[in-house]
Symmetry: C2
Subunit: 467 residues, 2 copies
């Protein structure tokens, strides 16, 4: 396939797609549901072949679990499309209506972006969800899924595309790209592809961002923080810390770093660390934290000091800087703190590991987050309104939270109905991105022979009256 040529064709088809009414787009979505339901057995058969091939190739168990597409996943995918049909139309909203002068009317109206390229992980439900999002928002889409689901994607794409075209959408509304080297061709389609949405590993997203002139929406990293303030209510705070770190550690909105106010460190850390360690979290931290934990352990404040073991950095696969670690034992759980260097605080673990650091106050916490974070989602735990206001003003992230888990950063939880992804960029869309992130706007100006010369010469003047 010549991706450039196909993208050009799609670009020229995009205005026809954008002109389809909400009724036509929703009818296409309904037809997709029918096609999926009527071909469930064939879909499962293809998916079983993908799964068998993946097992043969010794693909990791977690990946195989994701690429399996069964009765339950089909049901969820169809429920998702049904929900999307019910969402309000993101297209055609008039967001500005202004008379510039007598008979000269300006309107700003939301329109689809045009052609969107989405590169996504090996998850068959992703193909369905992304196609539905693009159709609902009137966009054309080029889709490239993970290679481990090639057979499943092929049959799903055929069904989705066939149903869309049968419902009257343009032939070029959707295109599937299957070869990995075609991604590089796609990256060269500036001018025809209006937006790229890469999903997958940080490394992959970064590769896309580094190798294209097309605007990219997504997030390369999710380094989220919690700052435990001097005025925190520990009964409320500790469950939030545990939820934010452990509820689903593999995702971008899980917390990676806990900053603790120095004034409460000695009193708060025992209970905080106990809760984290009991939840299976490994501890890393600054030298100061490690020494404090060692001191607390020696003083018997972390449990039975007699059972304390000296830290063995090698055992933990830790860094060479691992000198002076505090260590201890509590209820049989280890809470050794592996010492990390300052620059290591820019680490996304996506695992049951947390970075610990003491800070003087909320100002130092905000500075640390702005320096080492990824501008995703960061939280302050405090009962002090002034500290909370300062934090939420000064932390430069898509989400700034108070007294709740960073895991809430999600389009469904925000009530957007569907989520394209999370953006850590600041242009266009920021944070969880729903259907509104897939539209732009155009200005419509209607006159009656109005000339700019008349305004430049002073013969006429604007009155700019909002309607």
């Amino acid at each position: 396939m010549n991706v450039r040529e196909e993208a050009r064709k799609m670009k020229l088809a995009a205005p026809y797609m954008a002109a389809k009414s909400m009724e036509e787009r929703n009818a296409a979505l309904a037809r997709i549901i029918d096609a999926l339901e009527q071909n469930r057995e064939a879909i499962f058969r293809e998916n079983e072949l993908d799964v068998a091939a993946a097992k043969e190739a010794n693909v990791a168990q977690a990946v195989i679990k994701r690429l399996k597409f069964d009765e339950n996943k089909l049901r969820d995918a169809i429920a998702g499309i049904r929900q999307m049909i019910g969402l309000p139309d993101p297209v055609g909203k008039i967001t500005l209506s202004r008379e510039l002068d007598e008979g000269l009317l300006l309107q700003r109206v939301s329109v689809p972006i045009g052609v969107i390229g989405v590169i996504f992980e090996a998850r068959p439900d992703a193909l369905i969800q992304i196609s539905a999002l693009c159709i609902k928002s009137g966009n054309c889409a080029i889709l490239k899924g993970g290679k481990e689901t090639a057979r499943t994607n092929r049959i799903l794409f055929g069904l989705v595309h066939g149903a869309a075209v049968a419902a009257g959408l343009p032939e070029s509304c959707l295109l599937q790209v299957e070869l990995h080297n075609e991604i590089d061709e796609l990256l060269q389609c500036q001018g025809d592809v209006d937006l790229l949405i890469p999903r997958g590993s940080n490394q992959f997203v970064q590769y896309i961002m580094d190798n294209t002139n097309i605007p990219v929406m997504g997030h390369a990293a999710g380094i989220c923080h919690i700052y435990l303030d001097e005025k925190a209510d520990l009964a409320k705070a500790i469950p939030v810390i545990v939820d934010a770190k452990t509820q689903y550690p593999a995702v971008c909105n899980a917390t990676e770093t806990l900053l603790v106010n120095r004034r409460i460190a000695e009193s708060a850390l025992p209970a905080v660390l106990k809760a984290l360690v009991q939840a299976g979290v490994k501890l890393r931290g600054s030298k100061e934290v490690a020494e404090l934990v060692k001191k607390l352990g020696d003083a018997g404040k972390l449990g039975d000091p007699g059972a304390r073991e000296m830290c063995d950095a090698g055992k933990q696969g830790g860094s060479q800087k691992a000198a002076g670690q505090g260590s201890g034992r509590l209820d049989g759980s280890s809470f050794d703190v592996e010492v990390m260097g300052e620059e290591d605080f820019a680490t996304e673990y996506t695992d049951l590991i947390i970075s610990l650091k003491l800070v003087e106050n909320v100002a130092e916490a905000a500075d640390h987050i702005n320096k080492f974070g990824s501008h995703h989602t960061d939280c302050i735990l405090t009962e002090d309104d002034k500290a909370a206001d300062y934090f939420m003003q000064m932390v430069d992230s898509a989400g700034v939270y108070r007294n709740c888990s960073t895991r809430f950063a999600d389009g469904f939880r925000y009530g957007f109905g569907a989520e394209v992804g999370v953006s850590t960029g600041k242009l266009h869309a920021r944070g969880p991105v729903g259907l509104d992130g897939l539209v732009t706007y155009k200005y419509r100006l209607t006159g009656q022979g109005h000339l700019v010369g008349d305004y430049v010469s002073g013969k006429k003047s604007f009155h700019h009256r909002d309607l």
Copy 2:
């Protein structure tokens, strides 16, 4: 200067800049006005040295005119800052307020983008205007002006920056970059610079877009069209065509191509061409147009056919494809049509030249514009509502106009108060960009110890109530 280091410093200062109240930002703008007024003589002296050097270097007269900074330009610049002080605050607007569940409140609030790099042409008033826009919107800015105004920019920057800092804004709120090679360093500051706004020649803007991973806002080309529909009112239409082409041909919103409905070509072209030629416009066009014009000339419909001259392509510096041109004479004005190839329709003249083409209907006009245009601003001239609706729906441009000049595409004319530039990109801001284009948003979520685990387990559920 180490631009990367300075940009990093600015990035860390940006949250402090963003936290300044509107009163503080407006006070800084007022102080800048005072500084400029008190130092007018020194400014003019430096500017005279720039102008003298430019003359010595045989810089083009048009450029010298732009780089002159005199009493009138200073007055206009100060009036611009005064007007900006009066504009509403683009920062701190709450655009979403939703209770996700009991006690869990989500707000979306507008915030400054952060660090903006602006590279602009040799015009001293540009430095003042851009600094004022960035201060008003709470952004930090790195400024690089044209080298021909180095002395003027240096004194202006010193005054503006000094006044801003004296008014309490952070030391790093503004930075001037003076060396051309520092632009390339600036292009490498992804992560610290949030947005680049290049202004200047198409070639320059394209160079910036091709050589950075930082999001770029701007327009590389302005290929605007007018489509003269079958149902146009010529008395209304012809002045619009002339205004759009000739009122200021050097700018991006001037029209480059006139598409004419084939059914009215023979009846309408004589009057249209007469008006254009009388305004000094040179004609290029498809072979079909050229032959029609020749036919019209031969038939005496373009004036005195006896005075018709055969076209001399070489004389006009035209293309080698210039065979079969129509030509004629009218009131002593030449209206030879130089034949152009299809691909030449993607040409921005920024000069008194127009491309002409016949099309079958509004659908062909829209397709042509989507294929050859630059998605800037395009207009239909018609009294037919259905054709107008089709055109405004199907043309994929930032501005879609009916019965008015494309030259209206401008932030001041739209009533935005101030304009950063015009964007032909579709992400973030499209068309003329005012202060609203210099802000993004963040989500604030306030809870009372809310955990995601409770919603995943089904213990709690969201009610998503907009407030």
